[in-house]
Each structure stands twice: as C-alpha cells, then as structure tokens.
Symmetry: D2
C-alpha cells in the first residue's frame, strides 16, 4: 500500500475539487482524507488530500509526472506531493535554555513525533550533555558579530550534508540571516515568547510585566526577513496577575513555549501547514 499527501493552492475556480478527486479515482487512488479552504479576500483555493494506492507498481515519481501533466498547468497549481510514510528530517538549533529541548526530545523518544532529528546545533556548548544522553550528534558553532557569516555558512553545510527538511529554533536566541532563510523559506520554525504581534523583539516578558497585561502568550512562526513578523503557525496564552513577578512570567511562559513549539512542529512535520501571503492555512 502506498500513500501520498498532496497540498495544493491556486486561484479559486470552478471544478477544481472534482477535477482533483476524479484524477485520483482515474489513477486507482482511494482518497482517505480531503479538506479545503477558500480565502475569499484573495480568491485563493487551498486543498490537502491523502490518497492510497494499492498497486505494487505505484511509483510516486511517475505519479508526480502524471499529476503535473494533467492538472498542474491546467489549474496553474502550486503544489507539493509527499510519500506519507517518509519522515521529514528536522535540525534543532538551541542556545542555553533547555526546556524546549527536553520537551522535544522527550516526545521524540516516546514516538510522538513523526520526524527524524539527525543533529542538534548550538552557539554554546551548555546543552551537549543532553544531546549525548539522547544519542543525537551535537555541533557547537559559536556565533559572534564578526563570525556570523562564517557560522551560518557552516550551518548551511551541515543542513545540506544531513539533507535536512526543516529547522526548529528552540529558543536559539540568535537572529537568522537571509543566507539561511532564502534556502529554507517557510521551513525555519521559531518560538517567540510573547503573543505576537504584541512585544516583538527582545525581553517580551519584561515588556509584558511593565505594561501590566493580564495574559501572556507564546507564538510559533516561520522565520522571515522581518523580525518576529513571519507567518504564525500556533499561539497559546495563560492568565497572569499583579502578583506575578517577571521571574514568574518567565517560568509560566516556559510551559507555553514548550507546548506551542511542539504543536507547531507536529503540524509542520505532518504536512498540515500551507503558507500564502505571510499567513498560514492549517489543516488540523
């Protein structure tokens, strides 16, 4: 049994759903999941579809070609087709904070995450022992103002040599430049410790404390050139009060960060996220 996951978007137009589902049937596929969304403001159609093929002769490469010939040009589709059983490969970038790292590795170990983690990278050596205890290669790539370009070149080489599909910044605390963003567009996931667009930039818990908000949040988003302004994947919040110090906010926020980031990773790894015009469509 072969199974594919298909993501498409295009200008909205009549018969698009019927054409795609009919195409699958004609090619002996059985659709087991279908969901769609139309952005009426921008007139864009989005679809996510899972389809099973029983034939032993099925080849995803061949099927991609047929799909391209029959449908892509006709409807001017933007599309991605995945072998559903192929786990994406995720690189994990960390700095000194360990709470997101522990959370992700705990889930990874328990089989909760549909992905592979070929390596962990950090600009500091602090968390190496955690990587070791989970038997995952750890690369220490220091970053200073002067060595930033070289450091990113080294990162890029690692990403390529490990054939990484997407990158997760698990409180990496460094601004990532276009050198990486351009190579991995909408494939670098960050966790920001505020409810974006409130409190962009550094020290959001301090700003939240100062403003006297009654709720704090965390936001996972794809990195784009503009700081903390990329497409939002997942957000969550928790109530706070005047009685919470900045340290309390930081501590409560850690729980948000862990869960929001892990949820974003799951959505991305399961190919449930589409991006258009700096916004996400989430087929969950």
């Amino acid at each position: 049994m072969h199974k594919i996951t298909l993501l498409i978007h295009c200008e909205d137009q009549p018969n698009i759903i019927a054409s795609v589902t009919n195409f699958m049937a004609t090619n002996k596929g059985n659709i087991v999941y279908i969901d769609q969304h139309v952005d009426r403001e921008q007139n864009i159609f989005f679809m996510r579809l899972e389809c099973e093929f029983k034939s032993d002769a099925f080849s995803i490469e061949k099927f991609r070609n047929i799909f391209k010939e029959v449908l892509v040009e006709k409807f001017q589709l933007k599309w991605k087709m995945y072998a559903a059983d192929k786990k994406p490969r995720m690189a994990l970038f960390v700095s000194k904070y360990d709470h997101c790292l522990y959370d992700i590795l705990g889930r990874y170990n328990s089989g909760e995450l549909f992905l592979e983690i070929p390596f962990i990278l950090s600009n500091h050596a602090h968390l190496k022992s955690i990587a070791d205890s989970f038997n995952i290669p750890f690369y220490h790539v220091p970053v200073t103002k002067d060595t930033k370009y070289e450091a990113e070149r080294e990162q890029l080489k690692l990403l390529e040599s490990y054939t990484i599909d997407f990158v997760v910044l698990a409180r990496y605390m460094q601004i990532v430049s276009n050198l990486l963003i351009d190579k991995y567009p909408n494939k670098i996931i960050n966790i920001h410790h505020s409810f974006l667009p409130a409190f962009v930039g550094a020290k959001p818990y301090h700003s939240a404390y100062k403003r006297g908000v009654k709720i704090i949040g965390a936001t996972s988003h794809y990195i784009t050139e503009e700081l903390d302004a990329g497409p939002i994947i997942e957000q969550d919040v928790t109530h706070v009060s005047h009685s919470h110090s900045i340290n309390d906010l930081i501590s409560k926020g850690r729980d948000l960060e862990k869960i929001v980031l892990s949820n974003a990773i799951k959505l991305h790894a399961n190919r449930k996220v589409m991006v258009f015009n700096n916004k996400t469509v989430i087929f969950s």
Copy 2:
C-alpha cells in the same frame, strides 16, 4: 445561483469521495466546501459538502431524486440535503431563567443567527414581556405532574402548526418525554449546567461546590431518553477556586451556559452537526 448543503454517512468504502464529487461535477455543480471524517473504530464515513448550481432550471427536488437514484442505494448512504438559503425554524422553550433567552434574542436581533424563531414557549408566564419586546409570539403552557401528557400534546401541536425544524431548551428545567423526542430525534438541543458526564441531573453547581472542583463547565447536547446522556455538541469550562460560593458558581456558570448554547445552536442551524451512535461529528 442555487446552493445545497449535503450531509452523508455510510460504511467506509473506496471511491466514495470521488464518486460524490464526480456526481456533482456531472450535474454541473461546483463544490465550494468539502470536509470528511472517517470513524476508524466503527468504520463509518461522514461527509459534508456545499455545492453551487448556476442553472436557473435547477430544482432541489429533482436533484434529490437523481442523487437518490445514482448514489444512495449504491453506497447505502444515510443523507440529508438542504437548500442552503433556507433558514431552519427554531422553537425556544424557557422557564424562569432569562440569561440564555436574552443572549439568544440579542444575537437573533443582530442577524448573527441563521434561523427563524416563530415562537417562544414556557411553563411559566415570567418571561412573556421579554418575548413581547422582541415581537415574538409567546405561549404559556403550564406543566404539572398530572397535566404533563396534555401539555406535551399541546407543545407538539404548536411545533407542527409552526412547521418547526428544531427545538432549543434554554434552561427549560423540565424533563422532556419520548412523545417529543421520538418526533424530533437529535433535534432537541439542551443546555446542561455542568461538564458532562460529571454532575448529571439536578443542582450540578451544588455538587461541583461540594466536590471542590477547580473548573466548572456547561454542555450542550441533544436530548435522548436517558437523562443528560445524549450526543454532546459543545462544551466549555471556566476556572473557579475555593473562594467562590455556590452563588458565584451559578453566576459564572451563566456566562458559560449562554455561550455554549448559542454555539450549539449556530452549529445545528448551519447544518454542521452529524450524529452517529450517540456521538457527534462537527464540521466547523
């Protein structure tokens, strides 16, 4: 332009999605919404679909017949097809509490609800002036132990004479018998003031207080023969503490009841709820 909403469920089987979407295309329909769910435990397939037809000659009665001939027998479908622009007609049963009534009528007035409210019925006269101020007919049908059967016969006559599609018990505080349930299966929506299945029956806030729970809830569900055990449509909760008295729980609970019931009404009125084996599938 004609638009239909189609709900189907049947045993899960290959090609069901392609067959239905293909059928719509063949009949010159353009699918504008599709969502589906497979209950893997019970092997049941559920689908909700909206389809537009441009032809002036389109008739939903004829289309129903063609659909029946071509697909219903073949796949052994259970199905419902609605003209999407036809508002369902809802009867509102109340008792003495007014918070859900005000909330529903406020939304109704503002155009937020896709439905018509031909009448309000109560076993008490207390809320008549509210019905009057919204210009909705009000029927006072007292219920005592001895007159319960006659009262429900009268209710039934009203429901039929007004061609009511579904009934909402907005804190109606009376147990509804099979006389009504059998005529309106999965069409009588209740709001229960607890997080079901916790605290079934009378005085759930008192029970919650006694147990010392840290969260209280409200549940909207379809009425079935067994008390508070019907299919759940919507639930929500709020945090409480030791400092809340029973009256505080009741007051906080009112806000939950209003919002949970209104959300359930919207889901039902927009034909987004399917029921199977005492559980709901919600296409929201």
Copy 3:
C-alpha cells in the same frame, strides 16, 4: 451592623499590616477579609480590607477622621474607605452596537451587579428603545468634530447632576478628552476589542485578520490620555483559525467583549481594583 471596605497603598515598611489590623481591633471592628500585595520592583504596599462594626453608634465619617489621625500621616497612606453597602453609581455610554448594552442590562436586571445605573448616554439615538424597555433614562448627545467640546461639557453636567461614581464606555466609539478624564481619573472603563497592546486603535479585528493571528482578544482598561494605553483591568482571548473571516472575528469577539467588560465592571464596582503607575492590582 456596619461594614466598610478599605483600600490603601503606601511605601512598603515594617508593621504596616499589624498596625492596620490592630487599629481595627482597637476600634471594635472585626476584620472579615484581608488581602495584600507588595510590588517589590517599586517597593509599594497595597492592601484591601473589609471590617464589620456592631455598634449602632458607628459612623463612617467619624471613623474616617480617626483613621486619618492615627494611621494616614504616620504611614503616608493613600487610601479610600467605602461604606460596603453603598452601591456605586455608573453611567453607561454607548453608540450603535448593542451587544455590551444588552449584556450589562441583563445582568443588572437579574441583580448580578452591585451598582446603580442612573442613566444611559449615546451620541446616536439607535439604542433608545433598549434603554426604555429597561426603564432607564436615555440621553442623546450627538458629537461632531465641531461640537465635541460642548458635548463633553453636557456629559460632564449630567455626570455631576446624577452624582455618578464611574463611567463605562460600552463600545462608545468616541475618543474621550481630558475634560472628562481629569474629572474621573481611573474611573472611566473602556472595552477595547483586541488583546492590548496588540492592535491599538481603530479596526483591530481587521488588523488581526491581516496578521493571521491564531487567537483574538478583548481588553478592558481605564481611559488615560494616551489611546488604549491605560491600566488594564481584565483580558480574555479565544482561538481562531484561517477559516474565520473578518466578520467571524467580529462575531466571536463580541462574546469576549461582553464578558471582559462585565467582569471589569464587577471588579470596579466591588472596589477590588487599585491603580498605581498605570498598572492595576486586582484583589479578586
């Protein structure tokens, strides 16, 4: 039985709690509620206390004088003392939206709110019939660019002639000037339809839609000179997705606005809010 509510704040210093509680005991008061908070960043002590006096001879005016003599100067207290059974008087300012108005009046009618509403004021006539149906005087005071000053003078006269304690802007949609703010500092409560400090100013739901946030919110705060930047009393949020249109956000947001504003009103009316340096301390 007489009961007072006392709110104090001052620089943090030793023995402040014991001094106040001892003072109450000496004056034959029985403390039935006490809560306190120390802002360690600013070194400010806050306290809320309820105290009962059995003597028929008790007079709050006399007690205020004794309190002032004995404690206020010694600890340099800022303080407010209320007769606990005296309901505050609240003016309600509205515009064309009715959801907050219905919500507040429904609660008011049911006895849920410890306050009096002597009048409702609007810059439009649209909601007069609602005020009428609840038997509350309604004043229509139109506001244009040119007449703004005169309109606010008229508002001020009404507030004074009705001896209003605090003002609630229930989606009033007008910027209130210093003429009113200075007379009612931290006594004018607004509801802003976003999760402040995100989306300050006009059309926050449109901005939220454009940014693609996964959570929307509402914020109730005291009006200050800077727009949407006053002390936050209460906030709440709800999850949204790509499938929600701007109208969906507006509709879901209305439920937040109603509940957040009513909660803020309750906290203020029950004298549970203290303000210091543009932040609130909430003794709930």
Copy 4:
C-alpha cells in the same frame, strides 16, 4: 533574617486576624504576606501568613511554643508552622510512563521547584536510566498481588529513612493502600488523567472517547481511601473533537498531566494548600 510560613484554620470567630497579626508584631515579626478565607457554609476560618524576624536570637522551636501558649488553645487552632527556607523532601513514584518524570526532573534541574528529590521509586526498572542521568537514587520495588503488603512496607521504610515530607505519584499506576495513606495524610499527590469527578478509575481516555466529550482534562489530588475521590489541588482541560482518536486523546492528555501535576507539586511544596473536609483552600 528568619522567615516563617504559618497555616491555620479554626472555627470562624471575631478578632482572629487582629489577634494573630498583633501576636506577630508583639514578637517583633514583620508580616510580609497575609491571605485568608472563610468557608461560610462550614463556618471555618483559614489563614496563610509569612512573617520575617530580624533578631539573630530567633528560634522557630521557641516561637512555636510561644505561639501554642498564646494563641492555639484560645482559638482552638489547627496549625502548621514552617521555616520558609527549608525545602520539603519529595519522593517520586513512577511506573513505565516517562512524560511526567521528564517534566518534573527538567524543572527540578532548572531550579524552578522549591524542593529536594532524595529518591525515585518504581515497580518497574524501565525508567532507571532517566533517574541515573539526573543523578538521583532509583529504587526498583516490584509489586504483585501477593507481594503488595511487603512492597508497601519497603516503600514505607524508604520514606522514613529518607525523612520524606510528601510523595508524588507521577503516573505510578498502582493503587496505594491505607498503610501509606495513614502515614502521609494529604501528603500523597496523584495525577489522574481525567477531569474528575468524570471518568473515575481505569482508562479514562477510552471512556472520554466513548462518551464523545468535546473537552478532556487532568486532575491532581491528594490520595484518600476512596479511589480518585480525594481533595482536588489543580485541574486543567483542553478541547478535542470527533477527529481525535483515543491515541490522540492520550497524547494531548500527556501535556495536561505534566502541567497539572507540576503546578500541584509547586503549590504543595510552597505550603499554599490547606485541606478541610476533603476540599482544598489554595492560597496562590
């Protein structure tokens, strides 16, 4: 500087707050935190108080004696007095699930928890390597029907020899008998994977799935003789839908379990929980 935390409860009576605060002042203590609650149904007064003493000569043993002489008998107080800087000692009981264990140890390592973990105990050997990697002694005490009594005797011996203050069952999956409960009343914290009192007993996620609830929860409570019926410390919930399988519920539930249990541990370790008549008062 010495600091104590005092928890008291007694029948509600006049002047109790003033008497205690006055006692502290007389003994040269400066109260830095005070909170109180009156259960009006049962007429019980609860108080939590933190007090600092500057004198080098201060001795908590002596102070306990004075407190007993002056106040305990007079007001018939039930009371506990702690040296605020003395960390409680917590034993961790686990079985095969590791998510709560990782979560607790991650927090422990980062300094977030005010407690000591002298040892981890399990009826299985599976999680020994995790205990090892955090350098905490691990005891494997197998439990079978026939050896249960001996096993609990061994557990008791370990608890005593390590002078344990409280026990946390982090998904321990065994019913604890009165042998332990009687020695550690309201000192054994369990995490139950449902929103109690819904779904008591085994396999709550399966029951939740079968009932078709739209929200699942987790509850942390003190163990009492009756299964899952002890005083509730903390609860939280998350939304689910028809699309979630039992495994999805289990996976989403793990995140609830971790956070609810950790919050309960923090409240207990910081002496913020009081228990009376099978309910908790939480001074948070």
